[in-house]
């Protein structure tokens, strides 16, 4: 059993290191195949572990000591329990499909090998993040995925926008990571250990104020990784990276790390329900806020990115209200259909020669039937229509909000569900149906290679059937996670489900109806509300205007006025004093013995004077 743990963990590392050997070489097909196979091996090992954990319970191993200094002892310990094994299966499954897909997608890229090396390194970091049995290991994985995200967003580093977006993502995550580090320090300071089992066993004895502080700090870390408001701007800009990266990192896995952290620290957050409620409120706000931005955006990938943001908000609502298993369930189903949506979008982009504006597409159904069907499945799942996966998980989150009496949150999520349905189908309609706008640009779109489509089929199937595993999933993860039961009358529950389904279906119907007739009138784009939405509430502008500009000015001030004028000048002055005094003093060295003797006598006299002035007092 332990063997499978190590295989699952280290196969991606082996893949990354092996492929890295060829990183600087031109494209070699076998690097992609080897990487996909090794990630596939990791996936199989994860599935075996899933069965084993189900049969024999969690597995906890300590590979070796890592840091051992004084009272501090941090081992390289790994735990495969009900939560981490679900994460492992989700991560490796999506990763395998993304790896296979990338062989087709990155076909013509000259850095083909480097791409696979980074992608596998990401999978390894993510596995460390979810499998670690202590907070420090989690933090290492956390930083590792951040690094790989930076490398992959900026994969086409010669594009200024890509390297800018990579830096933005990295810096925003650093800001949040400071919060997380503070949380970790507090945990160690108060409890003297980083091990999950020790921390969660003892955390209830702490002062509630301290628990609240720890909870807030850890959540700040989660906010950065999961791109919650106000640290959300990097996620939309991260779409500069290759599309498989967006599918794997910025939809299915890395961005859900924040949710994973909250789920993992469930023991801690159940002690501080007020912080949990704040998390849920923020989640509901982001769910609505991001969905509204997705309504008007014309960039294919950004729409899906905002949708990811919105769905992360849903997950945080569930996690914040204590329904950890529901959050994890939505995390899993979302990973399937959202990565499918992104990978489909990648096919569309390829067909359209990297055109991203959905207004310039239209009518692609004729030439890309398979992609259109897969993306429609994903969109239906995202919209939450029975019997697709999104229905089960999203509906549960709404029920949780209702059950907790947080009707306001419920209402926000309810509206969000309608918006989700609308923008998903706006995208589908504009891309695959309607007028063939692409003909104006003289493009001849073609379907992706067959193996790419076949690789997507498992995700399509999962997007349809994953919801039916709800009961098995519930029974499995609640062995570890706190159980959460919804106590609503069956009648009310049926009305809620009907209402949610109703708003989702009417959102879809409205989108289809409007875009069948050629979309909204142009005059709408002149309205103030449209402008606010299409400019993302002017938040990126505000950040630039009120944070970046003043910070740049401040940096410039420090550089010009303080660094060059004070610090540099002081250092230069010291150097100049020595230089000048040396220049003057070298005249002493006349080489004349009389002069030397005179200097010597002068020295003796000076020393004598000192000896007399500072003679020891008897």
């Amino acid at each position: 059993m332990e063997k499978y743990l190590y295989i699952a963990l280290f196969a991606p590392l082996a893949s990354s290191l092996f492929v890295a050997l060829f990183a600087a070489r031109p494209k070699m097909l076998f690097t992609g195949i080897v990487a996909s196979l090794l990630i596939g091996v990791s996936m199989i090992a994860s599935f075996i572990l899933l069965i084993d954990v189900n049969n024999y319970g969690p597995l906890h191993v300590t590979m070796m000591d890592w840091i051992s200094a004084g009272n501090l002892s941090i081992p390289f310990g790994f735990v495969v329990d009900e939560v981490s094994v679900i994460m492992m299966v989700t991560v490796t499954l999506v990763s395998t499909i993304v790896h296979i897909y990338s062989i087709g997608y990155m076909d013509h890229d000259k850095s083909f090998n480097r791409f696979f090396s980074y992608l596998s390194a990401f999978v390894f970091s993510m596995m460390i993040l979810v499998m670690s049995d202590n907070f420090v290991g989690l933090f290492i994985g956390w930083e590792g995925v951040g690094l790989c995200s930076w490398l992959l967003i900026g994969f086409w580093y010669h594009k200024h926008s890509a390297s800018w977006a990579a830096n933005e993502a990295f810096i925003m995550n650093r800001i949040a990571d400071l919060g997380m580090l503070m949380g970790l320090f507090l945990i160690y300071w108060q409890l003297g250990s980083f091990q999950y089992d020790v921390v969660f066993a003892n955390v209830k004895h702490l002062d509630p104020a301290i628990i609240t502080t720890i909870g807030i700090f850890l959540f700040i870390g989660a906010m950065g990784k999961s791109a919650q408001f106000p640290l959300h701007t990097w996620l939309a800009d991260a779409m500069e990276g290759p599309t498989p990266v967006s599918a794997l990192i910025h939809a299915a896995t890395m961005v859900t790390a924040g949710v994973y952290l909250v789920i993992r620290c469930g023991e801690l957050y159940t002690l501080i329900p007020h912080v949990g409620f704040a998390i849920a409120s923020l989640g509901a706000f982001v769910a609505l806020f991001a969905a509204s931005m997705a309504l008007v955006n014309n960039d294919l990938k950004r729409i899906i990115a905002y949708s990811t943001l919105s769905q992360l908000g849903y997950m945080f609502v569930a996690a914040g209200l204590g329904a950890y298993w529901i959050a994890l369930f939505h995390l899993m189903t979302h990973a399937f259909f959202k990565s499918l949506l992104f990978l489909g979008a990648g096919n569309v982009m390829h067909a359209m020669h990297d055109e991203l504006n959905i207004k310039k597409m239209g009518g692609l159904y004729g030439s890309m039937k398979a992609t259109a069907i897969l993306m429609s499945i994903a969109s239906v799942a995202l919209a939450g229509i029975y019997p697709f996966a999104g229905f089960f998980s999203k509906d549960k989150i709404l029920e949780v909000a209702f059950n907790e009496g947080a009707y306001f949150l419920w209402f926000a999520l309810f509206i969000g569900a309608g918006l989700t349905a609308f923008y998903s189908f706006r995208l589908v309609m504009l891309v695959f149906f309607g007028e063939k706008e692409y003909k104006k640009q003289g493009l001849h779109p073609h379907e992706a290679q067959n193996f790419v489509i076949y690789a997507l089929v498992p995700l399509g199937l999962l997007a349809i059937v994953a919801g039916f595993f709800e009961h098995a999933f519930h029974g499995f993860v609640t062995k570890l996670l706190r159980n959460y039961e919804i106590h609503i009358d069956h009648g009310v529950e049926a009305i809620l489900i009907a209402a949610t389904l109703g708003i989702a279906i009417s959102g879809i119907a409205f989108a289809i109806y409007m875009y069948k007739r050629g979309g909204f009138p142009k005059s709408l784009e002149e309205r103030a509300c449209y402008k606010i939405l299409s400019n993302q509430y002017f938040i990126p502008y505000a950040y630039e205007r009120f944070i970046m500009k003043p910070f740049t000015a401040l940096s410039h001030f420090f550089w010009v006025s303080i660094d060059t004028k004070i610090i540099d000048a002081t250092v230069d002055l010291i150097a100049r004093v020595f230089y000048k005094s040396g220049e003057k003093a070298r005249k002493m060295q006349s080489g004349n013995l009389s002069d030397m003797l005179r200097w010597m006598v002068m020295g003796i006299v000076v020393l004598l004077i000192f000896a007399i002035l500072y003679r020891p007092t008897v």
């Binding site: 070298r586 060295q589 006349s590 080489g591 004349n592 013995l593 009389s594 003797l597 005179r598 006598v601």
Partner: protein
């Protein structure tokens, strides 16, 4: 009555004469004389203090200095003659090959 003070004043005066000689003279031979004066000024001081305290080590040290001075002069004069043979002068200002 000649006291310690007289001896020390004499030693000081001799030392000053020697010091001025060392600084002023440019003839190497004269420089040697000046250093001898310096050394002997110190010798006087040593012997006087030794007598005053009734401690023989001062006088002993004076003998050492005389011995060292004699050997120093022997070596020094040898070098001086060599220099004179080469350059035809014993002027200090001709000794400037170490100019920095």
């Amino acid at each position: 009555m000649i006291t310690l003070t007289h001896y020390l004043v004499l030693a000081g005066l001799l030392f000053a004469i020697g010091l001025v000689g060392v600084m002023k003279r440019t003839n190497l031979l004269m420089l040697f004389f000046s250093t001898e004066i310096l050394l002997n000024a110190v010798n006087i001081g040593f012997v006087a203090v030794s007598k005053y305290y009734g401690d023989l080590s001062g006088q002993l040290f004076a003998f050492f200095i005389i011995a060292v001075a004699a050997s120093e002069v022997a070596v020094g004069l040898g070098l001086l003659i060599l220099w004179y043979k080469r350059n035809g002068t014993v002027d200090l200002n001709s000794l400037q090959i170490m100019k920095g």
